[in-house]
């Protein structure tokens, strides 16, 4: 039986594994983190009174589809240490970290997360509320002694004694769905991220939406003004990212409209250089947004702490004068960069590079890449819907490739 390894369980990996399963191809979905969903699992629903078609809910759909699909095996906590091309396909050396938390006895009380000294070592599934230990961030992975979570667990559901297993896996084809990494806005120090209180990245804002942080605030504590700054880490040749990330205008506008819908008294401004979205509904959305949101065509030169401690934006306004304006919150719309994890680079034939994989030398017709496929954001910035479309296409390519292999005809 033919088998395909899908590396990365973001929306592209999930949808690719699902499509392969529908086509009768067995696949193994490999994820380093203890949670499926990848980057997309961090996004929140942006529906106002109607759906804004952001696609964030599709991840949950695909995760549940994958769990029900017999043809897909989901390997969480699993790293790829080595790989080589064989006559048949690929041989991968897997390093499986154990799931330290027994989900049958876990009562989801969250005490373990409170006592954990490492900030990102215990993760919470945004959909089910289950807890997971992220071994690569855990102090144990750095050869330090710590059993804080094991000791406090009232259900004794945590067992840190479990050992990782190394295993060889032979597959006929490999699909890289390694996705993207969001730009770290601290690399643009003039926007004050990490320095000026109140300056957030768009992902921080997503987390605030998801945790209902805005609703939980008292009316007086709620921000009265918020600014969105576009093109942070995209269309920027100084940092080597002279491309449009395709999604930021869309998500910033959806977030702005969501805020405006929930709290109509908030003043929302959006600073942009060009508004670029690739969505068919976009014209309607920009019409609606321009009534609710103050769209300003100017990129600020600087964000610093103003006299009252709030972020103060310096920009060149529409009336031909430099304006310094204070906002309660500033959201930097960070762009997409290639995934920098060593994971994809381990595949010897596909070399790691600073750029997205597909943009330069990946060529499916090259014999060096025989049996290797790329999907989703590994090829370049894509929206959730585009990633799914891409995976559907790649799934059919893989099926075609496997059929050719089986019938003995050399694939061109």
């Amino acid at each position: 039986m033919k088998k395909v390894a899908v590396i990365g369980s973001g929306i592209s990996g999930l949808s690719l594994a699902h499509e392969l399963g529908e086509a009768g191809v067995n696949s193994i979905l490999i994820e380093t983190l203890p949670l499926p969903g990848g980057n997309t699992a961090r996004f929140s629903c942006k529906a106002t009174d109607s759906c804004q078609r952001c696609g964030a809910c599709l991840v949950q759909d695909y995760v549940s589809k994958i769990c029900r699909n017999d043809r897909v095996e989901l390997l969480l906590n699993c790293e790829i240490l080595d790989s080589r091309q064989t006559a048949k396909g690929y041989e991968l050396l897997l390093h499986k970290n154990p799931a330290f938390i027994d989900h049958l006895s876990c009562s989801k009380c969250g005490i373990c997360k409170k006592v954990c000294p490492a900030p990102k070592a215990i993760l919470v599934d945004p959909f089910t509320g289950s807890f997971f230990i992220n071994y690569s961030e855990c102090l144990l992975s750095q050869n330090m002694q710590c059993s804080a979570c094991e000791q406090v667990c009232p259900e004794q559901a945590i067992n840190l004694e479990l050992q990782p297993i190394d295993e060889n896996l032979e597959v006929d084809a490999v699909a890289l769905a390694t996705g993207f990494e969001a730009f770290d806005p601290a690399q643009k120090p003039r926007f004050g991220y990490g320095r000026v209180p109140g300056v957030l990245s768009a992902l921080d804002l997503e987390e605030m939406f998801r945790n209902g942080r805005f609703e939980n605030l008292q009316e007086n504590d709620r921000p009265s003004s918020i600014a969105f700054i576009q093109c942070v880490g995209s269309r920027d040749s100084k940092i080597g990212r002279n491309y449009c990330s395709r999604v930021c205008c869309g998500y910033a506008m959806r977030s702005a409209r969501l805020l405006k819908f929930k709290f109509p008294e908030i003043k929302v401004s959006m600073f942009y250089m060009d508004i670029q979205t690739f969505d068919r509904d976009f014209e309607n959305r920009i019409d609606k947004a321009s009534q609710e949101v103050n769209l300003i065509r100017a990129i600020p030169s600087e964000i610093r702490s103003g006299p009252s401690g709030k972020p103060e934006i310096t920009y060149y306004g529409v009336n031909d004068q430099v304006i310094q304006e204070e906002f309660d919150l500033v959201s930097l719309s960070v762009g997409m960069g290639p995934a920098t994890t060593s994971l994809a680079g381990i595949l010897g034939t596909i070399e790691p590079r600073a750029d997205f994989y597909g943009s330069n030398s990946f060529n499916p017709n090259n014999p060096a890449f025989k049996g290797a496929f790329l999907t989703g954001c590994a090829l370049g910035p894509k929206t959730i819907q585009e990633s799914i479309d891409d995976s559907v296409h790649v799934a059919s390519q893989i099926e075609f490739y496997l059929n050719k292999q089986q019938s003995g005809v050399e694939v061109e």
């Binding site: 920027d236 030169s301 600087e302 920009y315 060149y316 031909d320 430099v322």
Partner: protein, 154 residues
């Protein structure tokens, strides 16, 4: 605002600027206004606007740009280059435009006078017998002017 006749514009001007040393970044500009927001000259002299200077060059407003007085106001502080996401290098660009203006004999009279002084004396202030006499009284060596190098440069 003065009316601009499209026929008076020079569509090849942007290529001239782009091929001048320092002007290479001209066509990369997205007009995001970050340079203008960072410019300290703009705060006092409103008609100096880096973004507009780039637009004028791109539109081919050669005469208006080269004969203007504001292109000479740049203080070369490089704030604009610092914030530019597209690496236009506006400070270098304004040098290129100023060089083109000098070639077209559009440089302001004050600058041309300074140029004359440099050519003549090798320095911006002429050193006469009077200064050298004073220096010798104080026990300082006399200053000799070396205008030859500047003559060859200019």
């Amino acid at each position: 605002m003065a009316r601009i006749n499209l026929n008076d514009l020079d569509p090849s001007f942007k290529f001239t600027v782009a091929s001048t040393r320092g002007g290479e970044g001209l066509q990369a500009c997205y007009a995001c206004k970050a340079c203008t927001a960072a410019c300290p000259i703009e705060k006092t002299v409103k008609r100096y606007d880096p973004r507009k200077i780039i637009r004028m060059a791109l539109l081919g407003m050669k005469k208006e740009l080269l004969e203007s007085d504001f292109i000479w106001l740049c203080s070369s502080c490089y704030s604009c280059s610092e914030v530019c996401p597209q690496d236009v290098r506006f400070t270098e660009l304004i040098f290129a435009i100023k060089n083109l203006a000098s070639v077209e004999a559009c440089a302001p009279a004050g600058l041309m006078a300074q140029r004359g002084l440099l050519k003549e004396h090798g320095r911006l202030y002429e050193v006469s017998e009077f200064e050298n006499e004073k220096r010798s009284k104080l026990g300082l060596p006399p200053i000799v002017e070396h205008p030859e190098d500047y003559k060859s440069l200019l």
